[in-house]
């Protein structure tokens, strides 16, 4: 065991530090590495290649021989996503009728059982083996370096290695290597003096500058280093350190074209929006820190294997408590302290035992999740990601697949045992909103990279949703499959852009003939992202497995929590929209006739250094979900091995007592699988058909559609007006406050009497102008105006058109149904 631990930590540390070494070398000597630092690219690529080799050695050479996966051979039809404990469900075949009839009954009893158990998780393990909690996965934890120690408090740089860590290392290094190779080709413009077509100087000339080839690879190296750092982190403090580093790398890379104002603005936006998330994360960390006094994920053991310091997880999920989540005594105290601080008057009341520590746990969980919201571009902090397209395409491919956005999902997965059911519900809702909002925006975008960007946001929403609903494996599985196909899609789009020199899909079309490799690898990516596969029995593209797992979990959750039914439907609706916009993209780009003959004529297939990574990634996008023939090795089995402690159980909310987070293995029940599988398949097929009907068969005219949905189109085209909204409610007030503060300072500089007099005079004016004229008059005028506008608007509804009235009736019915299903909770 010890040699395993030291081998693993050494291998991964080397894999982690190699990019740093490459960064440092290029930072100091990049300029001198060949003309424009040509060899810097090779250096960075080589470092990453070594990292990948080390990671795969760690996986196949050390990890798997020591921790073999459990055999899954007898469960072929469940596409390899099973683990031995699923045998508890028996070998049930997928009979539709029986499935439908059996499921609700079973769920009902489950639910009653849960309630009968009362609100305390402790009572729950009487549910029998069906609810048996899983023990912590095999993991290695240790400290490398101490940042500071204060009494019992310790901030360290440490490692936490389990299957997930190793798998993430392999995934990140593999994709990053592909991206590096690809970038060697894509960035060749930077190898000589570069004329930036998008920057016009004041004298009307286009900007000319020396190429910055080596800088690009320098940042890429640092980026990979930071991402590896997040993955290998053994505690939250270290996560935060590398979290910030990932953020700053993205700042550099997004703002790579520093001369472009849009690029530097996008970089700023990315970093600042991420900081907003970090703000929440800091709060969550503080809540954890001051109650638990540790950030460590694992238990620190001494040479004999005795636990010296307990980590977060083992404090929150103790073995005595059957690995159920329960706040520690210190959390209960801390919450009580916060409560007395909040309401001084209530200080004398006895502490509320019912939710002891749960609120604090919720704050910590939601706080940590805030950081993930920022990094993974979840609603409401998703606004930075599409703007991040200002960076070169290899960066987009990296940011959108293996790093940065993956970091957020990864952290949710890593921190998973400490999320209370209520926090998970928050995560699920955020994911749900994100996946829907982003998917709708992607429908109208015409910039090929932006469509993909919004699709990333939407897919991240899927992952968050899955994690929030209790589908840990589903979410992480989708993270990995998505990394491959999204990396592929982005690199394909980069190849297209490289070929036609524009991002605008309205100038493309018919490129299939000019760039076949790109077109067909991208088709693989599209099919993977929509989850194409034969329903229920498989086989399918990688996305098919992960997306079906997510939808199954959503279905399972929806059956347990009828009043959160929207979480059940959102992924299905999302699947429809995803299929639609992805194939819209493919058809617009590759099918049909060229829309811009000039660009078409000059289009060409990319060089081999760019297409080879495409092919490699396409193979993975197709097959990463499959079980390796003649072995037990599959991604989902790996992830199942990594399943965090205590998450294999149905858990009940403490604050929201009706909330049930279902056991993930319940979602493989045939009834759910059948219904969810068909729902996913049919909606995706419908989306694909609609896209085909509009963009390939031209049954419906897109322009006409645009006209008939003008308001909706402009709503989506403007991305739900989020940027403008944030400008109004955050940025502008901030600047107003800032200017006010500056003016306040200057006011103090004046002689105090004079200043006071001036302030008095000013105040009265302000009262007159602002209050009298704006507020009082404005209110009166506003009420009148609103009434008038409302009347005008309502008049428009009365079109006298029979068919629209029918439409309104249908809308009314649907809304009524939804409303009733929500109201049911209160009855």
């Amino acid at each position: 065991m010890d040699t395993t631990a030291s081998n693993l930590s050494t291998l991964l540390m080397l894999a982690w530090l190699l990019p740093l070494a490459s960064f440092v070398l290029i930072l100091f000597f990049g300029k001198y590495m060949g003309s424009h630092g040509k060899f810097a690219g090779y250096l960075a690529t080589g470092a990453l290649l070594c990292s990948a080799a080390l990671s795969f050695t760690a996986m196949f050479g050390v990890w798997l021989p020591n921790h073999p996966l459990p055999s899954t051979a007898h469960h072929t039809e469940e596409h390899g996503e099973d683990v031995p404990s699923e045998e508890a469900h028996g070998h049930v075949a997928a009979y539709p009728v029986e499935a439908i009839s059996a499921q609700p009954v079973a769920l009902q009893t489950d639910h009653e059982h849960g309630e009968a158990d009362g609100h305390h998780a402790t009572a729950e393990h009487s549910d029998g083996e069906h609810h048996a909690n899983n023990a912590p996965p095999v993991s290695y934890f240790g400290d490398w370096y101490t940042l500071g120690q204060f009494g019992s408090l310790k901030l360290t740089i440490s490692y936490y290695i389990d299957t997930l860590t190793v798998a993430m290392f392999c995934m990140v290094s593999l994709i990053a290597t592909c991206v590096h190779f690809y970038a060697l080709g894509y960035m060749h413009d930077e190898l000589h003096d570069f004329t930036d077509p998008e920057v016009t100087m004041s004298d009307g000339e286009k900007l000319k500058r020396p190429g910055r080839f080596y800088r690009f690879f320098q940042y890429l190296s640092l980026f990979c280093f930071s991402m590896f750092g997040v993955v290998i982190s053994g505690n939250m403090a270290m996560v935060f350190v590398f979290w910030e580093l990932v953020g700053i790398c993205s700042y550099f890379l997004i703002g790579f074209y520093i001369e472009r104002h849009s690029a530097s603005t996008a970089a700023n936006k990315a970093f600042i929006v991420n900081r907003v998330g970090d703000f929440g994360m800091l709060i969550g960390m503080m809540a954890l820190w001051s109650s638990l006094g540790t950030f460590a994920f694992g238990d620190l053991k001494d040479a004999e294997g005795h636990v010296v310091e307990q980590g977060i997880f083992s404090q929150l999920r103790t073995e005595e408590n059957d690995y159920h989540l329960q706040p520690t005594a210190s959390m209960v105290e801390e919450q009580e302290r916060v409560r007395t601080q909040t309401c001084e008057l209530a200080a004398d009341e006895p502490p509320k035992q019912s939710h002891a520590g749960q609120w604090l746990l919720l704050i910590a969980g939601v706080g940590i999740f805030c950081g993930c919201v920022g990094k993974s571009a979840q609603f409401p902090l998703h606004v930075w990601l599409p703007d991040a397209m200002e960076g070169p395409t290899p960066v987009s491919a990296l940011v959108h697949s293996a790093t940065m956005v993956a970091a957020g999902v990864y952290l949710v997965g890593r921190f998973y045992p400490a999320f209370s059911p209520e926090a998970l519900l928050v995560i699920a809702y955020v994911g749900c909103i994100t996946l829907f909002v982003a998917a709708t925006i992607a429908i109208t975008a015409t910039d090929i990279k932006r469509v993909l960007a919004y699709s990333t946001v939407s897919q991240l929403g899927y992952m968050m949703l899955a994690l929030g609903l209790g589908g840990w494996v589903a979410g992480m599985f989708h993270l990995i499959t998505h990394a491959f196909f999204k990396g592929l899609l982005f690199m394909c789009s980069g190849s297209v852009i490289h070929g036609v020199h524009t991002n605008d899909m309205t100038e493309m079309g018919g490129l299939r003939k000019k760039m076949p490799i790109t077109a067909y690898t991208m088709l693989v990516g599209c099919l993977a992202i929509i989850g194409a596969g034969i329903p229920i029995i498989g086989p399918g593209f990688s996305g098919y497995y992960s997306k079906d797992a997510i939808i199954e979990q959503a279905w399972s959750f929806g059956s347990n929590n009828p009043h959160h039914a929207v979480l059940k439907w959102a992924p299905i609706v999302g699947a429809f929209i995803t299929a639609f916009y992805m194939f819209r993209l493919w058809y617009m780009t590759f099918a049909g006739k060229p829309r811009n003959q000039d660009r078409y004529d000059h289009a060409h297939e990319s060089p081999r250094v760019m297409t080879m990574p495409l092919v490699i990634l396409a193979v993975f996008a197709l097959g990463i979900g499959w079980q390796l023939p003649f072995t037990d090795l599959s991604t989902s089995a790996l992830l199942e091995q990594a399943r965090p402690v205590g998450t294999l159980a149905t858990s009940h909310g403490e604050i929201l007592s009706e909330l049930v987070i279902p056991n993930e293995h319940d979602s493989h029940a045939p009834a759910i699988k059948w219904a969810a599988g068909w729902a996913a398949f049919s909606t995706a097929a419908a989306g694909l058909l609609l896209a085909t009907a509009i963009y390939l068969w031209k049954l419906l005219d897109p322009q006409e559609l645009k006209q008939s949905f003008k308001p909706l189109h402009s709503w989506l085209w403007n991305k739900w007006w989020f940027d403008e909204l944030y400008q109004i409610i955050f940025v502008a007030p901030c600047m107003i406050v800032a200017r006010t503060i500056t003016r306040f300072d200057l006011g103090v500089i004046d002689s105090i009497l004079h200043g006071a007099a001036a302030v008095c005079k000013g105040c009265s004016k302000v009262v007159y102008a602002v209050f009298d004229q704006t507020v009082v008059d404005g209110m009166a005028n506003g009420v009148a105006g609103v009434t008038w506008d409302l009347g005008l608007w309502l008049r428009k509804i009365q079109t006298g058109n029979l068919r629209q009235y029918i439409m309104f009736i249908v809308i009314g019915t649907v809304v009524l149904f939804v409303a009733i299903s929500f109201v049911q909770r209160t009855i």
Binding site: I100, E704, V810
Partner: protein, 206 residues
Amino acid sequence: MESIYWPTFFFWLFSLISCSFAVGVLLARNIVRMAFYLVLALAATAGLFFLAGADFVGAMQLMIYVGGTLVLLIFGVMLTSQERFIEMKTSSGEWVVALLLGGMLLGILLQAAMAVPAWQGMDRAAAEATKVEKTATPLGMGLLGVRVDQLDEQDESRRKGMSGYLFHFEIVSVHLLVVLVGAAYLARAKRKRGRDELAGTGSNAT
């Protein structure tokens, strides 16, 4: 493998026919085809009625709907079928909205249909044991005011409904009469007037 249970087989057959022709009605552009599809869909529905043990209603469906109402409709089609009305296009936007809304509606309805466990059907033995009775007589008696199916009802609260449907039957009869008179009045042959005259005497025309 168990043997095929034929009622189920016919159920799937009829439901497939009726659903697909209903979709056909929806998607067809030509009004004449629509009418034809509708006939088939309704006839298949009648088959479903038979399968559900409602033989009389099924027969009525065939006679009144398929035989009567639809013939009427087809007359209407023929009377108004000019070239420009046979195919009238709807805009793409409306199609998309309608399909989206319809999809949602369908989703909700299907969800509701599957929601109740008791609706999932009996097992085969029970189904085969169920005796299917002819319903024409009880229906006729019901319309005349006697509920033969509930004569031996012991439950006081249920027996209240035993008075049958005589009153309803009467109302429907009168209603039908009024409606037919009205229809005849509305559709009576009129001298076709020109547009100018119509505009001039608009208030008198109705």
